[in-house]
């Protein structure tokens, strides 16, 4: 997780086919772009635009030993631990959501030291992806200083307790002499991002909140887009100033309606709250057994994504959609 040498970063990018070409494929095909041991970055934030269909496909493909980073983790973090997909998450906040309390699955795995939750400030996560997007090995910032959040990942002096954690380093500003924190670039091996629409080349237009997704797409070495709809390149070219993720960063496009369920996709559907409540209940008493049962019923048994949605339930889906489009009512 230390920044790549520039020559290595350039070499990895040079080897990619960045040309304007069609790249529509299935979830199963896209899952093959992720290798065991990769650093996977996840788009969206908390319960918003979580690329759940792709996560679902990665769990079904039995990926292992991924290091997973995201701005803020919600229930997908539980899924990463409980499925065995990852034992190392990098994020600023991790629980289902404040209204559901502290994640019992997270607690079970981290307190028993079977899994790590590497904590950085929210802005540090954002600037680490941004440094990666800019092709620089670090960016300077002014928070985390003086805190134990820094202490856990500091590369000053003896360095962090666990050397596989990335390090942040305090530095003196060459102009003002002020103390700044240099946070190291993140260039994920693969990013998975869900969007409202994109074309077959991967030109994506996002509505509403973009979170850290634009920087993540630029920083990553491969990008898998899942999308509610694939639209024509003609439609994209009519409003090029609305394209937020460019085709040249994208390696796979997968059309998956309701691809964030049970989380939300801005303007289309809100979180599936009853399902989220049900999940919280399932994992309340025996978090690990509850998460296993949830994975069995919603990840391993469904024959396809439509079957997964069926198990969540039609009434719930319609309700989430009605609430989702409500943002445009005013």
């Amino acid at each position: 997780m230390t920044p790549l040498a520039y020559s290595d970063l350039r070499q990895r990018t040079r080897e990619r086919d960045r040309s304007l070409r069609e790249k529509v494929m299935s979830l199963e095909e896209a899952a093959k772009l992720v290798s065991d041991g990769d650093h996977l970055a996840v788009g969206g934030c908390t319960a918003s635009r979580t690329p759940f269909a792709m996560i679902w496909a990665l769990v079904r493909a039995s990926k292992r030993d991924l290091t997973v980073s995201r701005s803020i983790m919600s229930t997908e973090g539980d899924i990463f631990y409980a499925s065995g997909l990852s034992t190392h998450l990098i994020t600023s906040w991790f629980s289902q959501g404040i209204v559901w309390g502290v994640s019992k699955v997270m607690r079970a795995y981290t307190e028993s030291k079977r899994a790590r939750f590497e904590e950085w400030s929210h802005m540090a996560m954002g600037l680490r992806y941004r440094a990666g997007a800019m092709g620089v090995p670090f960016l300077p910032m002014r928070s985390m200083l003086g805190s134990d959040v820094l202490g856990m990942v500091s590369g000053d002096g003896e360095g962090p307790a666990d050397a596989s954690f990335a390090a942040a380093k305090t530095m003196e500003c060459p102009f003002t002499g002020e103390t700044l924190l240099a946070v190291p670039a993140l260039n994920p091996d693969v990013a998975i991002i869900h969007v409202q629409r994109c074309d077959a080349y991967g030109n994506a237009q996002l509505d509403g909140l973009t979170f850290m997704d634009i920087d993540i797409a630029m920083a990553a070495n491969r990008v898998i887009l899942t999308t509610e709809r694939v639209v024509s390149n003609e439609q994209i070219r009519r409003h090029p100033d609305q394209t937020k993720i460019g085709f040249f960063t994208v390696d796979a496009v997968v059309e998956v309606p309701f691809g964030c369920a049970p989380h939300e996709c801005y303007g289309l559907y809100e979180p599936f709250y009853s399902h989220m409540d049900m999940y919280a209940e399932m994992t309340a008493r025996d978090p690990e057994a509850g998460a296993r049962a949830y994975l069995e019923r919603f990840y391993h048994e469904p024959k396809d994504w439509a079957d997964y949605l069926s198990r969540i339930g039609m009434a719930e889906l319609l309700d989430a959609q009605r609430r989702g489009s409500g943002i445009y009512d005013d």
Binding site: C45, T46, A47, S48, I72, T91, S92, W93, F94, G97, I98, V99, V102, S103, M106, R107, T110, E111, F117, E119, W120, S121, H122, M123, A124, G126, L127, Y129, R130, M141, R142, S143, M144, L145, G146, S147, D148, V149, M152, T170, T179, L180, L181, G208, L209, T210, F211, M212, D213, I214, D215, E264, Y266, E270, P271, Y273, M276, G324, I327, D330
Partner: protein, 268 residues
């Protein structure tokens, strides 16, 4: 006495049994926000209190949410489960990326940072990461989110329940820095701007000494004594002789809060 307060006392002043501790927190912290300010509000009570302020005395309050939202009007009865869902964005002036909205703090565009807290110490340091030793914790908490950034870069208001186990001599882990070890230690760590301004609890309103940066009582809520607040604090907490008492929540404030959060997502 303000016109509003006069009207309330005519209507009959509310007593503690008329509202929950969370409702008291929401009302008292909302009142600290001023019209025309820019407030960066965390999830939970801060989100609720900022909306309440906007609907009462501060219609021109600009709310920022860490999801990337600038100047929204969240709808009553549709509170978001975090500051990152579309419900946060209703009728906003502007949406930006997460990184951009956090950089607004760093650039200095934000007047007040406003968050909840799980554990706080006498210098206003907050812990939301670990209970016990961080390398071998009893409880792993959800972590900082934007908390560290907000507390590092803005003048802070914190809203939290007043319990001895939450008001500790020294937090187990500094997630969001207050005045660190007091005096000038915050600036010396590389944080020359911002710092704790007020801590609002269900017992009173707390401030910090300008020199030592130690926590002290600024006001007590109706029915709360100096002895009560000391008994519920895990460190020596000065209560000045001239400490004031806050005005109780008004029926109007409570009505708005209850309309905002009918399902008691944040005010249970």
């Amino acid at each position: 006495m303000t016109i509003e307060a006069t009207r309330m006392s005519l209507a009959g002043t509310l007593a503690p049994q008329d509202y929950t501790a969370s409702e008291l927190l929401g009302v008292m912290s909302a009142r600290l926000l001023k019209d025309g300010q820019t407030v960066f509000a965390g999830v939970g009570i801060p989100l609720l209190a900022a909306i309440l302020a906007q609907k009462t005395h501060a219609p021109g309050l600009t709310i920022l949410f860490e999801g990337g939202v600038i100047g929204p009007f969240v709808e009553a009865g549709k509170l978001p489960p975090s500051t990152n869902e579309q419900r946060c964005t209703r009728r906003a002036n502007m949406l930006v990326s997460i990184t951009e909205v956090l950089l607004m703090l760093q650039r200095g565009y934000v007047d007040v940072g406003f968050m909840g807290g799980a554990q706080i110490d006498r210098y206003g340091n907050l812990n939301s990461s670990y209970i016990g030793d961080a390398r071998n914790p009893k409880i792993r908490l959800p972590g900082t989110g934007g908390g560290n950034d907000i507390a590092s870069l803005a003048d802070m208001i914190v809203a939290m329940k007043h319990e001895k186990r939450r008001f500790v001599e020294k937090v187990d882990f500094i997630t969001s820095p207050g005045f660190i070890n007091g005096g000038q230690t915050r600036a010396a760590a590389g944080l020359p701007a911002g710092g704790m301004f007020r801590v609002v609890t269900d017992l009173g309103i707390l401030g910090f000494d300008a020199e030592t940066r130690q926590m002290m009582v600024v006001a007590l809520h109706p029915g709360v004594t100096a002895a009560d607040i000391k008994a519920n604090t895990g460190f020596e907490l000065p209560v000045p002789a001239d400490v004031t008492t806050t005005e109780p929540p008004t029926p109007e404030e409570l009505a708005i809060l209850r309309e905002l959060d009918p399902e008691q997502l944040y005010t249970a």
